[in-house]
């Protein structure tokens, strides 16, 4: 049984007990425990079920590489599935649930898959469930979906109660990993004067060294860690962050840090996670190494654990998975575990060393304690069950014929060590195979390259290959110096002196025993979470999935939530062996960020809810909100769709606004319209290229409606252009087009006409603009002027249609444009943004006697459609050219060139069969459905019904009391009066007559008064 030891536990504080629950059972741990160590101490060896066969699973590892101990943590709006017990610090009130079982962890019916395992090898689902066809969707897939998955989904109706934030950081040297290598590298770099950031994923510094022993500068590693930390903390150019994982390395020295601020202390306030977005000149990856499991039958039975992890649990937390432990190893390091266990009073029943000649000094030390060490031996099989009970021992070099069975309640295994090369590899760093250690390590000659073509990542310590304490420290010191030098500092690589026991060479062991029979290989796990066994990889190789990527995808090896940290090297060694190839020839799969899963909440950061995207507000935004605005999102703006009064529907409000504006006067907040100032000696020439019209000849004081096309000739934006002075134009764009058109202008200016003297400024937000619209608009403005005494003459003579003037209205400094998008007498008046609300208030107050009302976007839309004005995005969709819309009058014939001109000469653009703009009226006054198509006769070569036109805008016109629409119709303008048919999606066929698109005030008498 697993239990807490009476002694040991350097990280726990036995004076501070902590209560928590696991699957509803109350348990007690200590401050400093991880959930994993606390579970172990409470005899909870069984922590979950595997993905495919629902086999019982216990702890294998002690850190981020743990594949099995995944739990659901928290409740309600703080519940989160798939949390690793090994990286979860214990806190009071922690509530954890195990996953992927029904009805309970101990009795899971899903284990039937385990009984059928022989019939469910890798990729079985590609070969089955093919017939009968409907069964896949309705029977097989639902069952597979339910049995797969891991943790429960968070509650769908609850919003995350926690907050998250992003943080930006710039440094010379980023050191990832706060073990002795990271600290040594940081110290060397920091002493050079470089600005250094050190990230450590755990709560504690020092990594494995305090557990593994040896001496640094003649003292315990722990003492050196403390002293070095103190030294680094005292340096102003150094920042240290624990509980902060280096998550990813991206192009050009960009790296992600994932800081878990309150996971260990929920409820203390502040954000839960912080995403560090780091730009570093150089990155040192001191990410350590991970021990490999051994592949023997039953290596997944709870109680089988990595040797170093078992050592961690004893030394760090005083917890052990068993009292009678068998150790199996191919290297010297596992003897440290035997020594640790023995010192803690745990019986080491046997050490099986696969090497015929055994190990070095560490082995002798173990033997000297009277522990039985057998060389050239391995495990034939661990008896199946929910915990280890019996272990069969065999010759490593055989087929698994058991020579002896021993009783044990835990197994410590060590297959050697693999450097953590993920961060080195994320951005293209290459690896090299190290035969002596049987692992991939970073190839210093092929690092990830920065913008200057030089490497920007340096691996340090065991992450770079060396495993001995002395070698680790000197490698790290060199890495720190190299990084500092590359960042422009002079550093001296002076390492601390690390001393540890010399180790005998390890022996690669990819299968135990080496020639294990098939029934053993079918029980030898590679990927514990995804249930991939040695036999599965061998099957993949047999079936031709020879690329390591094919094998991974076919077997799901390394695709679990641990992303193959334990399984990848063992798996590809088996693959190489099956193919008769060498491991380096087979290669690795691609390492993808993040190193370890990171929360979506942290990725999203602060931007959620109301501030999910920037919210742009006009100066009158709050007034609209207080006066019944029914909001419509338009880009990052919100615009009032209509101003709804009490007891009124939105539709009724729109009608009221239209009729009032046509009869009295309405106000539109037009501040969102794009306003670009284009200025300079070449501005006129530039605008002649941007617009289809001639803008250079526009007289100062005048306005002109302009069209802009893309390079491909398609209409992309429209708006009124005003000439302000000799060198200055003001271009209005659509609301959605402002930023896009600004960028479009800049692109041409910066890439094609960089020598033209033109400057473009986007002043959209600097101005509040109000459209005062309706037959009583002038009366309203005159009254305002009268109240203020004086002001701009807004008469027809002084300010005619399509002109603008600067001056004062009602005491407000303003610029007034006589332009109209409604067909009514209309002034668009721009005032400084700071005056917007006051001006609006003044207009509302003075307008009361004229029946003034604000109106929204839908009223605007209907009024423009009544007038037959096109709307970008309705009449245009990226496939429409101005000529389709009867806008030939706005295309200059005199100009040599403009953007889109050449494109508009292509054969399809001048095709007389192009659909053209017309008005449409149903025969009964009904409203045509949005987006309906007119059908012609027959079908095309692909059997689709031929179409001859479509509806582009359709509304009920309260002014005319009937439905009106605009549309594009083949030969439309030549077919006035013809009736064509529009089938609806509900089976109704709508008949509509082709009419002139101008439904209201065809002569334009109302706007030009």
């Amino acid at each position: 049984m697993s239990t807490r030891l009476a002694t040991q536990g350097r990280l726990i504080d036995r004076s501070k007990p902590i209560e928590f629950t696991f699957n509803g059972t109350r348990m007690t741990g200590y401050a400093g425990d991880t959930l994993a160590s606390a579970l172990l101490a409470n005899d909870q060896l069984l922590v979950g079920r595997s993905f495919k066969y629902h086999r019982p699973r216990g702890l294998v590892a002690s850190g981020a590489e743990e594949p099995n101990a995944l739990v659901g943590l928290g409740t309600g709006d703080r519940f989160e599935p798939n949390q690793r017990a090994t990286t979860t610090e214990l806190f009071s009130g922690l509530s954890a649930q195990s996953q992927n079982h029904w009805p309970s962890l101990e009795f899971d019916v899903g284990v039937v898959n385990n009984k059928l395992a022989r019939f469910l090898p890798a990729g079985f689902y590609y070969k089955m469930f093919i017939h009968p066809k409907p069964f896949w969707k309705h029977v097989y897939e639902p069952i597979i979906r339910k049995s797969a998955g891991l943790g429960q989904a968070p509650d769908r109706e609850l919003k995350d109660a926690d907050t998250y934030e992003h943080f930006y950081y710039f440094c010379d040297v980023l050191v990832i990993g706060g073990g002795v290598a990271g600290l040594q590298a940081a110290l060397v770099a920091a002493k050079s004067g470089a600005k250094v950031l050190v990230l450590e994923q755990n709560a504690h510094w020092g990594g494995r060294a305090p557990v593994d022993g040896g001496t640094i500068d003649g003292d315990y590693p722990e003492a050196w860690v403390e002293q070095t930390l103190a030294e680094l903390s005292a340096m102003e150019n150094v920042t240290l962050r624990n509980r902060c994982m280096g998550a990813g390395v991206y192009d050009h020295g960009y790296a992600l840090g994932y800081e878990r601020l309150t996971d260990h202390a929920p409820g203390q306030g502040g954000p839960r996670h912080r995403m560090w977005r780091i730009r570093a000149k150089q990155i040192v990856t001191a990410t350590g190494a991970i021990e490999r499991p051994l592949s023997f039958a039953g290596n997944d039975v709870p109680g089988v654990m990595l040797a170093a992890a078992m050592r961690d649990y004893v030394v760090n937390w005083g917890a052990t998975p068993g009292k009678r432990v068998l150790v199996a190893t191919n290297n010297d390091d596992a003897y440290r575990t035997a020594l640790t266990l023995h010192a803690a009073g745990i019986e080491v029943v046997r050490v099986l060393d696969t090497r015929e000649t055994g190990g070095g000094a560490l082995m002798e030390e173990v033997r000297a304690l009277g522990i039985r060490v057998e060389c050239g031996r391995g495990i034939a099989k661990v008896k199946d069950g929910k915990c280890v009970t019996r272990v069969a021992i065999c010759a490593q070099n055989g087929q698994g014929g058991a020579q002896e069975e021993v009783e044990a309640d835990a197994v410590a295994m060590s297959g050697g060590w693999s450097p953590v090369v993920h961060l080195w590899s994320h951005c293209g760093g290459k690896l090299t195979w190290d035969d002596a250690q049987a692992h991939f390590r970073p190839d210093p000659a092929r690092p990830p390259l920065g913008a200057d073509g030089a490497g920007f990542v340096v691996a340090a310590g065991s992450a770079n290959g060396p495993l001995g304490l002395g070698a680790v420290l000197s490698d790290a010191a060199e890495a720190g110096a190299k990084a500092a030098a590359a960042a422009g500092f002079k550093a001296e690589a002076k390492p601390a002196a690390g001393v540890a026991q010399d180790e005998a060479p390890m022996q690669p062991v990819w299968l135990m025993p080496a020639r294990a029979e098939i029934d053993l290989r079918m029980k030898a796990w590679l990927d514990f979470q995804n249930d991939v066994k040695v036999s599965d990889v061998q099957l993949a190789a047999r079936e031709g999935f020879e690329s390591v990527e094919h094998t991974k995808r076919y077997t799901t090896l390394g695709m679990a939530t641990d992303q193959g940290k334990l399984s990848n090297i063992n798996g590809l060694a088996v693959l190489a062996d099956s193919l008769g190839s060498e491991i380096p020839q087979v290669g690795t799969t691609t390492f993808r960020p993040p190193y370890h899963p990171i929360s979506m909440g942290a990725i999203g950061g602060e931007a959620r809810g109301e501030i999910f995207q920037p919210l742009r507000k006009t100066p009158m935004h709050d007034w609209h909100d207080a006066n019944g605005a029914d909001w419509e999102p338009v880009g990052h703006w919100r615009r009032p769709y209509a101003f709804v009064r009490a007891g009124e529907s939105v539709k009724e409000a729109v009608s009221r606004e239209i009729l009032n504006t046509r009869q009295n006067v309405g106000l539109l907040d037009a501040s969102t319209l794009g306003k670009l100032i284009v200025k300079g000696p070449d501005a006129g020439r530039f605008l002649d290229m941007m617009y289809t019209n001639m803008m250079s000849t526009l007289k100062v004081g005048k306005c002109r409606y302009g069209l802009m096309c893309s390079e491909n000739g398609f209409l992309s934006d429209d708006g009124v252009v005003a000439r302000i002075d000799e060198e200055t134009w003001l271009c209005h764009t659509t609301t959605g087009g402002a930023d896009r058109i600004h960028a479009h202008m800049e692109e041409w200016l910066q890439t094609e006409w960089w020598d033209w003297k033109v400057y473009v400024a986007n002043v959209t937000e600097q101005l509040a603009q109000v459209a005062v619209v309706g037959p009583k608009a002038r009366m309203l403005l005159e009254k305002l002027n009268a109240e203020a005494g004086g002001g701009m003459d807004v008469s027809k003579e002084a300010l005619p249609f399509m002109e603008w003037k600067d001056g004062e209205i009602g005491g407000f400094k303003c610029r007034a444009y006589r332009i109209s998008f409604s067909g009514e007498l209309s002034y668009e008046i721009a005032v400084p943004a700071s005056q917007g609300q006051a001006f609006w208030d003044a207009l509302m107050a003075a307008g009361a006697e004229f029946g003034v009302m604000p109106y929204g976007t839908e009223c605007l839309h209907v009024m423009r459609a009544e007038k037959g004005f096109i709307m970008i995005g309705d009449e245009t969709d990226g496939t429409v050219i101005p000529q389709d819309l009867g806008l030939n009058w706005a295309i200059s014939k005199k100009k040599e060139d403009f953007i889109g001109k050449r494109a508009q000469q292509r054969s399809h653009m001048v095709d007389p069969d192009r659909w053209q703009l017309v008005g449409l009226e149903t025969l009964d006054g009904a409203v045509l459905p949005d987006g309906a198509y007119a059908v012609g006769s027959g079908v095309n070569a692909n059997g689709q019904k031929n179409t001859i036109g479509r509806v582009t805008s359709t509304y009920h016109s309260p002014t005319l009391g009937k439905g009106i629409a605009m549309g594009l119709v083949k030969h439309g303008p030549k077919r006035m009066g013809e009736v064509i048919e529009f089938p609806g999606t509900d089976g109704t066929v709508y008949k509509a007559k082709i009419v002139d698109p101008v439904f209201y005030d065809k002569e334009g008498e109302k706007q030009n008064v």
Binding site: F51, E80, P81, N82, R118, F119, P121, Y125, Y126, M128, F129, I130, W136, E141, R145, A148, G149, G151, Q152, A153, L158, D160, D251, C427, L539, E543, S547, E549, P593, P594, M600, G601, R608, G609, F612, L615, E632, P633, N712, T734, T735, G736, G737, R740, F821, T857, M871, I872, G873, T876, A903, Q904, R906, G931, A932, N942, G943, Q944, R950, T985
Partner: protein, 414 residues
């Protein structure tokens, strides 16, 4: 080819699965083939398959510089739908979707086509009009789609938040017969079927040159030597510009990285595929339980098959906004694939200035769903010189201005 079935699996289980044969052969290239397809991704393999199946042309080699299915076929978010607006698009995507329906049976390989339904959310008035238009177009194109109201969206997607403060859901375009498939299996299934017809799939064989004589293609140079052919099909997403350059012509194509990511697996919580274009994010749940999430393209041209962080951030924000529970999931893995984008963002399936040399490229961000239809049309074009499905996708359309533009949502409102 040994047929796959539950019975076969049971039979092989008795001998510990030692009796399975290779899914596809691993041959050395012959000196000459009737047809060479460059690119053993989904589109290339499908082209080869339909050349054999529909036209009896089996003296075919499919050359692959890496491992088959290792490009965008193995990197996409596996969405299958055909609710496109323009006629030529709807025709080829619907053909593809209908072929997906029977693909498992046709190939005797379970590609796990799962018609779980696809919703495209409308979150602005402009999008509402756009999707209503698409629904009208689809009805005439024979593509079954439906405009649905918010309440129905919530029924189909219980985890959705309809009333987001910024972009409330106003409805959606629903294609019940859309869904997902297992992407790798599509490539593997086609490869196995092609191999069984006697075609040679040659991996680790990079094309280094295209040889032609008198304006007519005669073969290719490869890292495994020169190989002759009568007809050449280039089906190499991400690298079509390189290959066309070898053949001596240019394509109107730019290559950019497209991002994707998956969450850790959780128990089933979303059965349909949801695409939210206003906020830029789409998501489905795989049979393994991972939430499969699509992001945006980088704003610059490149060939690195890597993810960058800034897009992931925007995508995840959009999804948290749409599905609040996503906030408490974790990102397991992010990656990138290189997509070829044309001037109108529609593909090219076309003859080229070089006689007997054909190109299939430019699927942009939507190639996976098209694989069988694309292969079908490309095979027809290569075998007969004419394909109604491919006709409008000729590269000549850029010269004529006859674009097939699906980016209707690019319009704006006043």
């Amino acid at each position: 080819m040994k047929r796959y079935s539950a019975f076969a699996v049971a039979r092989e289980a008795l001998r510990y699965h030692t009796g399975w044969e290779r899914a596809w052969r691993n041959p050395a290239p012959k000196r000459q083939y009737d047809v060479i397809i460059v690119g053993a991704g989904g589109h290339g393999l499908a082209t080869a398959y339909y050349l054999g199946k529909n036209f009896g042309i089996t003296n075919v080699a499919v050359l692959e510089k890496g491992w088959l299915g290792g490009g965008n076929t193995g990197r996409n978010t596996t969405i299958i739908r055909s609710n496109y607006l323009q006629d030529p698009s709807a025709a080829i995507y619907e053909k593809a979707r209908s072929l997906y329906e029977d693909m498992s049976q046709d190939l005797n390989y379970n590609v796990m086509f799962s018609p779980r339904g696809v919703i495209m959310l409308a979150q602005t008035e402009h999008e509402v009009r756009g999707y209503k238009r698409t629904a009208h177009a689809n009805a005439l194109q024979g593509v079954s789609t439906e405009w649905i109201e918010p309440a129905r969206v919530k029924e189909l997607v219980p985890i959705i938040n309809l009333a987001g403060p910024r972009y409330p859901v106003l409805g959606g375009l629903w294609q019940e017969r859309g869904g997902t498939a297992r992407h790798d299996a599509v490539a593997w299934g086609y490869a196995r079927a092609c191999s069984a017809m006697g075609m040679d799939i040659i991996q680790q064989c990079e094309v280094t040159g295209v040889r032609s004589e008198g304006g007519r293609v005669i073969g290719v140079d490869t890292t495994k030597g020169a190989i002759d052919c009568d007809k050449l099909g280039m089906v190499v997403a991400g690298n079509c510009s390189h290959l066309s350059q070898m053949a001596g012509f240019r394509l109107p194509v730019e290559s950019v990285a497209l991002q994707a990511l998956v969450s850790e697996p959780i128990k089933p919580c979303m059965d349909v595929v949801v695409m939210a274009n206003t906020v830029h994010g789409y998501m489905s749940q795989s049979d393994k339980g991972e939430m499969v999430i699509g992001g945006g393209t980088d704003g610059f041209n490149n060939y690195t098959q890597r993810g960058s962080f800034h897009h992931i951030e925007e995508t995840v924000r959009a999804l948290i906004e749409t599905f609040p529970m996503v906030s408490r999931l974790k990102m397991l893995r992010q990656w990138g694939g290189i997509v070829d984008v044309t001037g109108d963002r529609s593909p090219i399936i076309s003859k080229t200035p070089v006689q007997n040399c054909f190109v299939n490229a430019g699927w942009g961000t939507g190639g996976f769903k098209a694989i069988p239809g694309s292969g079908w049309a490309m095979a027809e074009l290569m075998a007969t010189g004419h394909s109604p499905l491919a006709e409008e996708f000729s590269m000549m359309r850029f010269k004529e201005g006859k674009f097939i533009d699906e980016s209707v949502a690019a319009g704006v409102a006043h």
